[in-house]
């Protein structure tokens, strides 16, 4: 009898198989099937986005954030990635018997601050308590609704050969920050999770050009997984250049130490943006002016063949960047 393994939650191939073969088979519909960050639908003439996400990160406090902040920004970002302005969230918390109220209070305060910062309101919620060992301290689920103005469409359907791929800064910060905290790595460095709400950046990009065609936040599974998802949905290929992909020194160092590849490490405040070649420079300029986009770079482009993600390495060689298999880092969001 087959069983659910931790690797089924890693964001890699096993999880995609689980979703496509077990979940989509029962629930497929035009809103769910594109497997976008949010479902997009209309009521009357107005377009909306709707999404949900559960947060089980361990440890619940890490450099640069905590599970509460993540639960707000993660859902806000899933709405932002389809071009929706985040408005309202729901919040369900599952608490483990024995959790200190002081810790809960700290997390709620962090959620309150994050909500204000992202300009969203929690408008409905639910609280449950389970027996000791039936949950790990606290799990949070948030769902969110956002509004899509001007009938904007951000979709892989719009992607064409020659489009540029932009990222708004260094990769792997979140995953490595959480991992270092979890492993109590006794290294002193200033690395923090990049956990941040992306709507204000997205709004500026959409305001300056219609050339942005698709966005996704490369969370679990990292940049490599997001790029592979684009390839799978478009039947086009992607060429990225290692020298152009921003990676912080701390992330490089810890990744080398742990045998991880930063391309697969999670981010919580990054967006991969596919943009037409004509609009690329303009979009890049506006991104660089935003505080979440100072380090924005064009890291590669859409190519016709091969239908894979290919990396041009620093030494000038080429290699495939495949989908993550198994589990690289457990419970990072």
């Amino acid at each position: 009898m087959s069983k659910i393994l931790l690797a089924h939650g890693s964001g890699g191939k096993l999880m995609h198989n689980l979703i496509e073969q077990e979940i989509l088979k029962r629930f497929a519909n035009p809103f769910l099937s594109p497997l976008a960050d949010s479902a997009v639908f209309s009521i009357g003439k107005q377009k909306f986005a709707f999404t949900t996400d559960s947060y089980v990160v361990k440890p619940i406090f890490f450099p640069g954030g905590d599970i509460g902040k993540l639960a707000i920004y993660g859902t806000v970002n899933d709405l932002s990635m389809v071009g929706a302005e985040p408005l309202y969230l729901s919040c369900g918390v599952i608490l483990e018997e024995g959790l200190e109220t002081e810790i809960l209070d700290k997390i709620l305060a962090s959620m309150e601050a994050a909500g204000k910062n992202a300009n969203v309101k929690i408008v409905t919620g639910d609280t449950k308590v389970v027996e000791k060992n039936s949950a790990d301290k606290i799990f949070i689920n948030t769902a969110g609704v956002g509004i899509i103005k001007n009938n904007r469409v951000l979709s892989t359907d719009r992607i064409r050969k020659g489009d540029k791929i932009i990222i708004n800064g260094s990769i792997g910060d979140h995953g490595i920050a959480v991992m270092s905290e979890r492993m109590k790595l006794k290294v002193t460095f200033s690395l923090k999770s990049d956990c941040a709400p992306l709507w204000s950046l997205v709004e500026k990009i959409l305001g300056v050009s219609n050339g942005a065609k698709f966005m996704r936040d490369p969370t679990r599974g990292g940049l490599a997984t997001t790029l592979n998802e684009i390839v799978a949905r478009t039947n086009l290929g992607i060429l990225i250049r290692e020298e152009d992909i921003p990676v912080k020194d701390e992330v490089k160092g810890i990744s080398e130490l742990l045998g991880l590849d930063p391309l697969y490490v999670a981010n919580e405040g990054k967006a991969v943006i596919v943009v037409s070649p004509e609009a690329a420079e303009k979009v890049l300029r506006v991104m660089k002016k935003d505080k979440l986009g100072k380090e924005s770079r064009i890291i590669g482009e859409i190519v016709e063949t091969p239908e894979k993600v290919i990396l041009k390495t620093l030494i000038g060689g080429h290699r495939i960047v495949d989908m993550l298999t198994g589990e690289q880092l457990p419970r990072i969001c």
């Binding site: 931790l6 020298e243 160092g253 990396l311 390495t313 620093l314 030494i315 000038g316 495939i320 198994g326």
Partner: protein
């Protein structure tokens, strides 16, 4: 970044690639990188795309998880099923299939199996769970075995009575001798493992050059290290020399790390050892020495493992010896994938098949 980007310099890499090309000329040369970390580094940096087509790099038996035979895993699984046992392991072992299960599946079934990055974490687990028996899966080459030895010494010092190891450590040089004695294999030079050699130095390999006239270069793991190592090796091959050279001088001394070596000699005793696919190689493994036998779980808590079964189609054994490439295995990428691995070489991130699957399919 200091010590990373410097070793990935594009111009230097291109220059080395040109020198290699000129040295090799039209000759066909077959080299073997013994170490799994080299296999992965070669793929990750795209080195093969810079090398001439008539220079072949074979992958060797240098992935510790891959050479661990099925019955070791079956035994570990049998221990995992015992009620008062906590299995502690490095992550790579989790997904390796045994005869009918894997530690990953046992974990989903409720076995207490914990992944650590350091042996000292295993000691902590032992101290925090005094009523349980902690079984550390001690696999790996001379890179890993000193850290296990250190943990065992520590356990003895702290009088931790519930810490045990299931000892499956392997020693690299005897495996190289087995490879050069394999008639079908025509390897003209070895890229030798940098980290193992940091511990044991270069001398334990000398016999390969002297007795068998096969050259070797101890190589670091950055792209420029590897390119330079290949260059040094093809120079020896074309000059018909056979020496053991050190490219990785910033880490490796000819005499190795004497402190680590004496720790190994204290805690372990050399024994014959079974390598997956290759069979028993004399004096190629470690068991605990008499002084530390009390930490051997097999001595303290014998367990019945299931009868070992191997998938007859799996070519891991041949792949580990460089006799076949993963592409020649009928299961590769069809029945055997990283999600549903048949053989160990598809599981470990350093396994040859996993590396070919991840980076090598074009």
């Amino acid at each position: 970044m200091k010590y990373i980007d410097e070793f990935r310099n594009n111009q230097l890499a291109q220059n080395l690639a040109k020198k290699i090309d000129r040295t090799v000329g039209k000759r066909k040369i077959v080299l073997m990188e013994v170490c799994g970390t080299h296999t992965v580094a070669i793929f990750r940096s795209g080195i093969k795309s810079l090398l001439p087509e008539n220079l072949h790099l074979l992958s060797g038996p240098g992935c510790p998880v891959c050479v661990t035979p099925n019955y070791y895993l079956d035994k570990a699984i049998a221990y995992a099923r015992l009620k008062d046992v906590i299995i502690v392991t490095f992550g790579d072992m989790l997904r390796v299939p045994g005869s009918s299960s894997s530690l990953e599946k046992e974990k989903a079934d409720g076995a207490d199996i914990r992944v650590v990055y350091s042996t000292l974490e295993a000691l902590e687990i032992a101290e925090n769970n005094p009523k349980k028996k902690i079984v550390f899966l001690a696999v790996g080459f001379e890179t890993t075995s000193p850290t296990i030895a250190a943990a065992i010494v520590q356990a003895k010092k702290k009088n931790i009575k519930n810490f045990y190891v299931l000892c499956g450590h392997k020693i690299v040089p005897p495996a190289l001798e087995a490879l050069v004695n394999t008639k079908e294999l025509k390897v003209e030079g070895f890229l030798l493992p940098g980290h193992v050699s940091t511990i044991i130095g270069s001398r334990p390999y000398e016999f390969i050059a002297k007795k068998y006239k096969v050259p070797g270069v101890i190589v670091g793991f950055e792209p420029l290290d590897i390119l330079q190592g290949i260059y040094m090796l093809v120079k020896q091959v074309t000059n018909e020399e056979a020496k053991i050279e050190i490219q990785y001088t910033r880490s490796v001394q000819p005499e190795g790390n004497p402190k680590a070596v004496s720790l190994l000699n204290e805690v372990f005793a050399v024994t014959d050892s079974d390598w997956r696919g290759i069979g028993v190689i004399p004096k190629s493994g470690y068991q605990l020495s008499d002084k530390y036998r009390e930490f051997d779980i097999e001595e303290n808590l014998p367990v019945e493992a299931e009868r070992t079964k191997e998938n007859p189609g799996c070519l891991c054994g041949k792949v580990l010896q460089g006799l076949k490439t993963p592409f020649e295995c009928p299961l590769f990428a069809k029945v055997c994938t990283p999600e549903k691995p048949v053989g160990a070489c598809m599981v470990s991130s350093e396994g040859t098949c996993a590396a070919y699957y991840k980076y090598g399919r074009t």
